[in-house]
Symmetry: C2
Subunit: 481 residues, 2 copies
């Protein structure tokens, strides 16, 4: 029997202004995790969340995560974990939701049209402010769902477990171990039946989506060194082998203009494209103009939507990020850098095992460097690796979410993957052993991480309905998936 | 008749302590031309020089050079020009000498073993201090020559014209126009018969040299742009053509590990090596160990001294300096830079005309970029060009200097060229139409521009003798050269 949600939806509508007010208060706290002297504000934001949850009757704990690695003078902000209703109802399913309460840095002088830490709503309902869409809007969405149930007098459909962190924009320091520990028997998250994360975006601006896959990322450095110190190119140019000359040649051997990775063996690690998967891309609401608009140019690799989506989601890519140690300022400096470090990363997809990728990368770089016949020294290193993640979109967690989307937005959601990574996704999947759903609230134009970040009023309010509807559907969905 | 210089030499020896004291006072003024808030000290150093010259009886003028281009809030330090003796003796030749009284930046925290602006003499007679060798020692050398003549009661052999500038370490701003103007009829430098510049170094540590050639330098940027703004490699990797991918490939096409320039036509611009020139390199006091010591590694291109010296002096070289706009910090950032600017320069030699080099560079880059089939845009630009300079070492100006070296150091000087450029050399040659001699005082281990810059006491004192002896020999040399 489909849940009756009209009363809930109406109550959300009637509470729109207080819900926007709640977001306004949250945006006003500049909880920037990357800046040391904002650490107090990050903690303040965590405490704001805790007190709001408590006033809604949830059981809440602020869990210390210890000192920040590499900055031992700083305490990590706490993980705010909660349970709602405060006492578990054994007859109901338990859904674990995740979000983060820290934000990216922002300064008016970066080019913001409005004060970044003041929620500013324009006449089109665009609510500008740092953290509005990433990720304060979605996090408060869960709180608003609770409040709307209380105000409407509707029984809460599930046991909700919450995990809200304050370091997501700075590598989720300390969180992995915490999640793994709290998913163990007898611990806070042990009884989760499924996981839902609202921390990504629609593919476009009009059609909601459910996300079932993320690419991984393996990040490498190639260090080439020769002379004992930087040299003057007038004095030594033409007499010494220059590390930078070798580096651009090795970097140039990795990938071509059309993004084809030149590393032998990489292609063989990629899961073959099945007819069934291939057919999925046609229906996705995405156009080449969407790509060109977000690129700000027409410099795409493929002329068609299907191959472009596959290039983003299901094939690996290799990007050259830059060079450390060479001259990088404006102007002209006639230096021969003594040691240069090229940075590149590979976005990985099923079935690429990170260790296998490393081996192929090392072998390729060694071979490319050897071919130069250089007397310089080269060392290739993995800086960090995060694995790709793909869930089954046929799982009941996804079917419930799809029904919720249809109920709120009157449309079937696109099933999407993301080119980027949200490492905590894989952690939750592995620690709980349960299905993880990515259920975005904001749209592709929200500019998370950029200037003028916003969340559309419509996405916020309908998004609250969606989160609530999801909990009702997931409570009733047969568990066969 | 060879000049009788014993009395002069003895007087210089007897004045060693006051001469070192004069250098000490000069080193104590931190006349750093690159740092705005040291401009006062640069001017103070110019005034120190002016008053010292005046107390020696010279006619001196401090000539304003106007505002600093690009920093209009700063006055350029004056050119200190002088004539000694104050009244011209029409029966004597007129020699124009150049030096600079500004210095490179220096901080104890850069790794100096002693205070950089305190002359510190160790037990081996090494006199450490910023500017000791570059170029306060040589500049004061001329003053010391005057004083020694006065104290010894020896008639000054020539009319000495002096041009001492305070912006050499920051591009000699404003000087070119000044020199050109003052070399015109009726102006200060009009009657120069030859020019002598003491602002370079011996090739090694034991054998003096005269320098008759410098390479030029043409500095280029390759700018490649595509997207409207930096992109996230997770979201766009594999769907957009990346400027950095194109850039490393174009940069990689310019030169190979052994320094061979790959630009078509460059080789044809280089003056062919004659048997006569080839034979010169054998006798030069230089070893491969000298190279390895200064490189701090064994990563030279050639195994032999002759080809190494030719690589430094008489063949062009191409160095890749770095990339602007890409990720250049330590750590890992997954950015796709939207616009990257590769920097490289070519050291030029006879008979490479800068305009011809530009044309070949542009054609090569265009061709290399076109071969990539990229939708990005590329623009190659010349940032600045300075021409090579080669003088005739058979000119009487050089024969006089060679005799002076033999008189002071009891050895025939090596005739050297330099891989780097001293642009003012060419300006003096063109503005006066006369021969220019580079007559170094310091040695190859003096570390000009580095930490622990020094001038050996021996090089300073014998160098003063050398400058004085040069004036005597040049006064008498037959002018047939």
């Amino acid at each position: 029997m489909a849940p009756q949600l009209d009363n809930f939806y109406k109550t959300v509508d009637s509470l729109s202004e207080p819900f926007i007010e709640r977001l306004r208060k949250a945006v006003e706290i500049p909880s920037i995790s990357a800046e040391d002297d904002r650490r107090e504000d990050v903690v303040k934001m965590g405490m704001f969340l805790k007190s709001q949850l408590e006033s809604l009757g949830a059981h809440v704990e602020a869990r210390e995560l210890g000192k920040q690695p590499g900055k031992e003078y700083l305490e990590l902000p706490p993980a705010i974990i909660g349970r709602y209703p405060a006492k578990k109802d054994e007859s109901k399913r338990t859904i674990l939701v995740y979000g983060h309460y820290d934000v990216q840095p922002a300064n008016l002088s970066d080019g913001w049209a409005t004060e970044p830490f003041k929620l500013t709503v324009d006449d089109k309902g665009r609510m500008y402010g740092r953290g509005s869409t990433d990720d304060k809007g979605p996090v408060l969405g869960w709180l608003n769902v609770m409040e709307a149930h209380q105000k409407a007098g509707i029984e809460f459909p599930v046991n909700l477990l919450m995990c809200f962190e304050g370091m997501e924009e700075y590598g989720s320091e300390g969180l992995d171990d915490f999640i793994i520990a709290e998913c163990k028997p007898g611990k806070f998250f042990e009884d989760a039946d499924a996981v839902c994360i609202s921390d990504n975006y629609w593919l476009g601006t009009e059609k909601p989506c459910l996300t079932y896959g993320l690419r991984g990322c393996s990040y490498y450095s190639i260090e080439i060194s020769g002379p004992g110190q930087d040299l003057h190119s007038g004095v030594f140019g033409g007499t010494a082998q220059e590390p930078m000359t070798d580096l651009v040649r090795v970097m140039g051997s990795l990938v071509d203009t059309n993004g084809t990775i030149q590393i032998e063996g990489i292609k063989d690690l990629v899961a073959p494209l099945t007819k069934e998967e291939e057919s999925l891309y046609k229906g996705i609401a995405f156009t080449m103009d969407n790509l060109y608009e977000s690129l700000g140019s027409q410099t795409g690799i493929y002329p068609d939507k299907e191959r472009t989506l596959m290039g983003r989601w299901r094939y690996p890519s290799l990007s050259l990020h830059g060079v450390e140690g060479a001259f990088s300022a404006p102007g002209a400096k006639t230096v021969i850098p003594a040691k240069v470090i090229g940075k590149f990363s590979i976005r990985t997809v099923p079935n690429m095992e990170p260790d296998d990728v490393d081996k192929l990368v090392y072998a390729h770089c060694d071979k490319a460097f050897k071919a130069l016949g250089s007397k310089n020294t080269m060392k290739t290193t993995l800086q960090h690796a995060g694995k790709w993640w793909v869930a089954s979109p046929k799982h009941w967690n996804f079917t419930a979410a799809a029904k919720a989307v249809e109920s709120v937005w009157k449309v079937q959601p696109d099933l999407t993957r993301e080119g980027g990574s949200i490492p905590v996704t894989l952690t939750f999947e592995q620690a709980t052993g349960k299905n993880v759903l990515l259920l975005p609230m904001g749209s592709s134009t929200d500019a998370a991480h950029s200037i003028n970040e916003k969340l559309d009023r419509r996405n916020y309010i309908e998004g609250i309905k969606l989160l609530g509807a999801y909990l009702h559907y997931v409570a009733e969905e047969p568990m066969q998936g």
